[in-house]
């Protein structure tokens, strides 16, 4: 079983801690939402957990050698960079990089993983399209397919729904929830607390680099936490259509 264990993880920029002594144990099957205001340290926490930043404390992923870590965890950075006008299929196939030995060409298993990832994101008709000519939402789907083609048990995504239209935000979060239900560990940072409450099984709330709350979404988004961290008063209720969250006013 592959999860993620963070122990006293600390990242400093100069003398100032950007991520301050974060300890958490995340297990497979959970769709973990990482929430908090801008600058709370969400991106830094995920990058340090992956070993992409120098840090103090330990992360079970960062301890792995680079190729093994790449087979264990897929990472979707916030900036959706596609540097060259390659085909969608080529781009998705980059997810197979950690599975190929030196000089090895992609085999049938790699082919199948790429096809499955593209099918899952409904990119069947896009295979030969030029990735840089797609719309922003389509590019986001292509990049998620790339991460899925990696077939890693852990998926970490930094604001994957930022800039998507409401329907795509919804389907993307639904996909992440389903991926977690299938037995992966999904960790996703997001600002839409309504979608977080609906789709995440667990929330980590960050404030000024510290992990201030960790638990089921309803408990984490308590009146006190919302006021203290976000400066918000909100309506949060269980309805026949699922949990509903709506900010009502700014309280500071």
């Amino acid at each position: 079983m592959t999860g993620l264990e963070l122990s006293h993880l600390t990242v400093r920029r100069g003398a100032c801690p950007v991520v301050d002594d974060v300890t958490a144990r995340l297990s497979p099957g959970d769709c973990v939402g990482l929430v908090g205001p801008n600058g709370a340290g969400k991106t830094t926490l995920m990058r340090a957990a992956l070993g992409l930043l120098p840090h103090k404390g330990t992360s079970s992923l960062a301890r792995l050698p680079a190729p093994e870590r790449a087979r264990t965890a897929a990472w979707l950075p916030q900036t959706r960079e596609i540097a060259w006008p390659v085909s969608v299929e080529t781009l998705v196939a980059l997810g197979r990089t950690p599975h190929l030995g030196p000089g090895q060409r992609p085999g049938p298993a790699d082919r199948a993983a790429v096809d499955a990832a593209m099918a899952r994101l409904e990119l069947g008709g896009f295979a030969t399209r030029c990735a840089t000519e797609l719309s922003g939402g389509e590019q986001a789907r292509v990049l998620i397919a790339r991460a899925l083609a990696q077939e890693a048990p852990v998926l970490m995504a930094d604001e994957p729904i930022a800039g998507l239209d409401p329907a795509h935000q919804f389907t993307t979060m639904a996909l992440f929830a389903r991926l977690a239900a299938e037995g992966r560990l999904v960790m996703v940072s997001l600002h839409d607390l309504g979608l977080a409450v609906r789709f995440c099984t667990r929330l980590l709330l960050m404030h000024r680099g510290r992990l201030v709350a960790d638990g089921p979404p309803r408990a984490v988004l308590s009146e006190a936490n919302l006021a203290e961290v976000f400066g918000l008063r909100a309506y949060l209720a269980e309805t026949p259509d699922g949990p509903v969250f709506q900010p009502l006013e700014v309280v500071r």
Partner: protein, 330 residues
């Protein structure tokens, strides 16, 4: 396999141009004489022309052209910037500075290897400074900035040498050398350039997968298991060895490293990894063609190769700008 077809076509083009390059020169040998001299060693003067003048010249065109194309493709892939080229990271200008110093101090006339050795030293110092300036974790952007700073410094020092040169003949020598040429090179030059060039190619050839992954950005590539620090070291050393060796024997030849990856990118589906081999072949073909052109257009005037590549390259580049503008709808 469209990709394989392209490589075969380019390889064939290189072979054809290599052959053509052997058949052209002021000695005016017939095709039959040339071939019998080269292969069977018939005809004393013809053998000398073929084996000591034309053959090393053609080999050097392949070595230098392929180094420039390969380095350009690798640098563009790493920087994710189609404007990157070997000149950008300061290796060419520093090697040129080394050569200019050898010419100015008279070392160059003391020993045939003094000039290339001095140019190589320049390239090596440039690379060490570059790695120092860019820092241990610096990304593509810091590398570009460090390269531009280094290029500017080496360029200024070269100008300074020219400025202070008391001897107009030495100045003319330097200026002509800076234009780049493959005329009057011998196998001494080939043997000097060959080991370092091959070493550089070897380091650059292994970068394909990392360059492909960098299409997704540095963070995503690192998360895919690509060791960016190691990759950058191989890139810088590979460019320095191959381009440094090229500048050492042929002078600074511009535009090949910039234009060849540009032209071939659409033909390899824009994949940076596949572009490496294609650009190496394309660079060799372009430089062979330019060197043939030099001998055909103005055979008596010693037209410089670097001048011709710039004359071919600049209009191609302008065309590319227009195409990019059209695609952007501007």
């Amino acid at each position: 396999m469209r990709g394989q077809g392209l490589f075969w076509a380019l390889a064939l083009l290189v072979v054809a141009l290599f052959g053509l390059s052997l058949l052209i020169g002021p000695a005016g040998l017939s095709v039959g004489d040339s071939l019998s001299a080269l292969l069977a060693g018939r005809g004393e003067a013809a053998v000398l022309v073929m084996r000591e003048i034309r053959l090393p010249r053609a080999i050097l065109a392949v070595l230098v052209g392929a180094s420039l194309g390969l380095s350009g493709a690798a640098l563009q892939g790493y920087m994710r910037n189609p404007l990157a080229e070997p000149g950008l990271i300061g290796v060419s200008s520093s090697a040129a500075l080394g050569a200019v110093l050898a010419l100015q101090t008279g070392l160059a006339s003391a020993h045939v290897l003094a000039l290339p050795a001095s140019a190589l030293t320049g390239a090596l110092i440039a690379v060490s400074l570059l790695l120092l300036l860019a820092g241990p974790r610096g990304g593509a952007f810091t590398l570009i900035l460090a390269g531009i700073a280094l290029s500017a410094l080496a360029g200024a020092l070269t100008q300074l040498v020219l400025n202070l040169s008391p001897n107009p003949y030495a100045t003319a020598d330097i200026v002509f050398w800076l234009m780049g040429s493959l005329a009057d090179r011998s196998f001494t030059h080939v043997w000097l350039a060959l080991p370092l060039t091959l070493l550089g190619w070897l380091m650059l050839a292994g970068l394909g997968r990392g360059l492909d992954a960098l299409t997704l950005g540095e963070d995503a590539a690192a998360a895919l298991g690509i060791r960016l620090g190691r990759m950058r070291l191989a890139l810088v050393l590979g460019v320095a060895a191959s381009v440094g060796a090229g500048v050492a024997v042929a002078g600074a030849i511009g535009f090949v490293g910039l234009i060849v990856p540009h032209l071939l990118r659409p033909l390899v589906g824009a994949r940076p990894g596949r572009l490496l081999a294609a650009s190496a072949l394309g660079g060799a073909a372009l430089l062979l063609a330019a060197d043939i052109g030099v001998r055909l257009v103005l055979p008596d005037r010693d037209l410089k190769l670097g001048v011709v590549t710039a004359l071919i390259g600049a209009p191609l580049f302008i065309r590319l700008i227009y195409r990019t503008r059209a695609e952007a709808g501007a």
